[in-house]
């Protein structure tokens, strides 16, 4: 999708004014954190598992070439094929070629953030192939032509009334007066529609929560079971995955799974966890005849060896979104691209460039809540600062902000001058606010006084008063 991260200020204003979105975000950020806490509290070794999961991914990233080659060899052993894609274009082309070889008209698809990243649906549509999202939330936003607003709850920004409206508009073959007030009715209708699509599809396209090097398997985690119908019914299964999804062994995958659902939804395990290894074997009663894995880089190897390498540990659980007070205020769409929340604010500049995404690392109070809940212990605040440092060094931050900061720093390095300047400012502010204790408008501080009063200072600095008191 075309990023709108540049319009971050407009995006946030729109999001803050959207009452439906605000209600949904309030519910989401009250619900998931409590469930995560309860799940973590029920498992005494949860904190140890976080350490283990972190170490597994660190080891995988340090030996990425080895494990990816091992994975490719195992996939070939099963009779499958790995397609290496440098960027979105190559990945889309690889998928299209496989679909064309299979004479595919429709492709069912289970939820994949990489699918969003490379915008595969648009690409397939342009080339005459119909993609059908089969995760309920993704199906809804596909009908609405919207990007997901949350990694694991893509349609969280919508009310059930909006979903009903969407279904009435899209499923025109059904009676217009059918009752759609209840979530159950919406679910049944989507299930009925999707069942026909599952059976008719020529190709099933899934993502991968992990890739297992020792077995050449991809791991699929869902709560709806849609991924299983997506990969097992059509003749061809394509997995689209980014290369950092690799873990060395099944044992490692099991460790990561133990922190994944607990961090995401507070479940001990998601409802469905599937390991797919290659195409159907002779003795298998069903399964796809072809198995392809499109392995996407898209800028990730550029992050290796940099201060952002640890971001590649991310398992897309969404915990950092659920706990982020900024995400809670503005939701996912405001970030302007596929990802959002703290992980998005770190990852997006790495994938689409700082020119597009310059706001994102700055729109954070660095409160640290995200790092405290990340199952992979990714130091997100440290990386947000690292982006700010790059911006500053490359003079990509706003010139006026840089000037004010440099002036301030120059003065702060000269204690006597610093005190002299402060004395004047504080005396003035103290006089202005003496009667009311607050100042409701200040030049150059509109960002503050547009939203809050400025508590008036005492009129003299501590350092001056301390001297007067004989300190």
């Amino acid at each position: 999708m075309e990023p709108t991260s540049r319009a971050f200020h407009d995006n946030t204003r729109e999001a803050l004014a959207d009452a439906t979105l605000q209600a949904a975000l309030g519910k989401l950020t009250r619900g998931f954190p409590v469930k995560r806490r309860q799940a973590a509290d029920r498992l005494p070794e949860f904190e140890d598992l976080r350490d283990q999961a972190r170490d597994i991914k660190n080891h995988s990233l340090a030996n990425l070439d080895f494990y990816l080659q091992q994975f490719e060899a195992r996939v070939s052993d099963w009779g499958g094929q790995v397609h290496w894609a440098k960027d979105s274009e190559e990945a889309c082309q690889a998928i299209l070629d496989i679909c064309r070889n299979a004479n595919a008209k429709t492709v069912t698809k289970s939820k994949s953030m990489i699918g969003e990243e490379i915008a595969i649906n648009d690409f397939l549509e342009k080339n005459g192939i119909e993609p059908i999202e089969t995760d309920l939330g993704e199906y809804i936003i596909q009908l609405r032509k919207e990007p997901p607003s949350h990694i694991i709850a893509p349609a969280i920004h919508l009310s059930k009334e909006q979903v009903a409206e969407t279904f009435l508009g899209a499923h025109t073959d059904l009676p217009a007066d059918r009752p759609l007030e209840e979530p159950r009715a919406l679910l049944e209708e989507a299930r009925e529609k999707l069942r026909q699509k599952f059976i008719a599809a020529d190709v099933g396209l899934t993502g991968a929560n992990m890739l297992v090097a020792e077995t050449g398997s991809n791991v699929l985690v869902t709560n709806e079971g849609n991924a299983d119908l997506t990969y097992s019914l059509p003749r061809v299964h394509i997995v689209i995955a980014s290369l950092e999804k690799i873990v060395p062994t099944l044992e490692d995958a099991a460790t990561v799974l133990r922190v994944l659902a607990r961090s995401a939804t507070g479940q001990e395990m998601s409802v469905y966890t599937t390991f797919c290894s290659g195409p159907k074997r002779l003795e298998d009663p069903d399964g796809p005849e072809e198995y392809h894995v499109v392995l996407l880089d898209n800028g990730r190897t550029d992050l290796l060896g940099t201060e952002f390498q640890e971001m590649l540990r991310c398992i897309r659980c969404g915990a950092c979104l659920n706990h982020c007070p900024v995400y809670k205020s503005i939701g996912g769409h405001a970030y302007g691209w596929v990802y959002s929340g703290p992980m998005g604010a770190v990852l997006i500049p790495g994938l689409i460039g700082m020119n597009e995404a310059s706001h994102l690392p700055n729109a954070s109070t660095l409160c640290g809540k995200c790092e405290s809940v990340c199952p992979m212990r990714i130091p997100l605040p440290r990386m947000l600062r690292a982006w700010r440092k790059r911006q500053f060094e490359r003079k990509q931050s706003s010139p006026s902000a840089r000037l004010i900061l440099s002036l301030w720093a120059w003065v702060a390095k000269k204690p006597m001058l610093y005190r002299f300047v402060n004395r004047q400012i504080i005396a003035t502010l103290g006089a202005i606010g003496k009667k009311t204790g607050r100042i409701s408008w200040l030049p150059l501080a509109g960002g503050w006084t547009s939203k809050r009063d400025f508590p008036a200072p005492a009129g003299k600095t501590f350092m001056d008063l301390y001297k007067e008191h004989g300190g």
Binding site: H9, T12, R13, L16, P325, V326, K328, S329, I330, N362, A363, S364, T365, C367, G368, K369, S372, R385, W387, R388, K389, F392, S397, A401, L405, W408, A409, A412, K413, P415, Y418, N422, I425, I426, A431, G433, K434, K435, G437, R438, G446, G447, W448, S450, K451, R452, D453, F454, P455, A456, P457, A458, G459, K460, T461, F462, M463, L465, Y466, G471
Partner: protein, 263 residues
Amino acid sequence: MSDQPLSSASPRVGLFVTCLVDLMRPSVGFAAIKLLTAAGCDVSVPDSQTCCGQPAYNSGDNLDAADIAKQVIAAFENFDYVVVPSGSCAGTIKHHYPEILAEDVVWSGRAKALAERTFELTSFLHDIIKFEKFNTEFQRTTTYHDGCSGLREMAIKDQPRNLIGKIPGLELREGEQAETCCGFGGLFCVKYPDISESMVDDKVNDILATQADVLLGGDLGCLMNIAGRLSRRKEDVEVRHVAEVLADMTDGPAIGDPDSGGH
């Protein structure tokens, strides 16, 4: 650290006032001196201090941040302890100076040495000095806001609560979202005022839900942000730094209240 004996009978403490207390709320600095003196410390206020440099560091200006860090280290490294009435500024000295100066062969050791001796005020009183003789009472219902850096970088949670727990009359009612960021974030609140407003409104609502009449906290940045929003919303909640209450210095106006001008 808390189990180690004090380095001398009367530990020499350098008070890092913080730029916000220096400029906006001198009473917090005097409260800190009063508490530390009562706890038997020999308190000094080095006059070459300005700011901890966090605005530069959080803006990606690591060179200026490093210069300011060196200035602070040079001014404070001869004390037994550095005590700071702010979890955020203490966190900068304790956790970020060693990062900022990690590559500097001369300064990295000095940064680490200072970091080990740097404490936020309430945790210093509680964990290190074990001071609990507060000569005051406070017949008010309070709630407490945990500043993010203090909470998550410095593990400050129980210390201020245990200290105010010793004050007769004071009732503490916890907000459900006491640990959630108030939306201050230094320059964040002026760069992204709309998001900041939404965050501080959530904070204000959480405070109001406790029906406490005083908000306490250990970080002036958060407190000014919350007090400013309370005042704009015309809500009648008094906002104070916890040190003022502990030091029996609550006679003056609260943060943002009339006549806080003039000392």
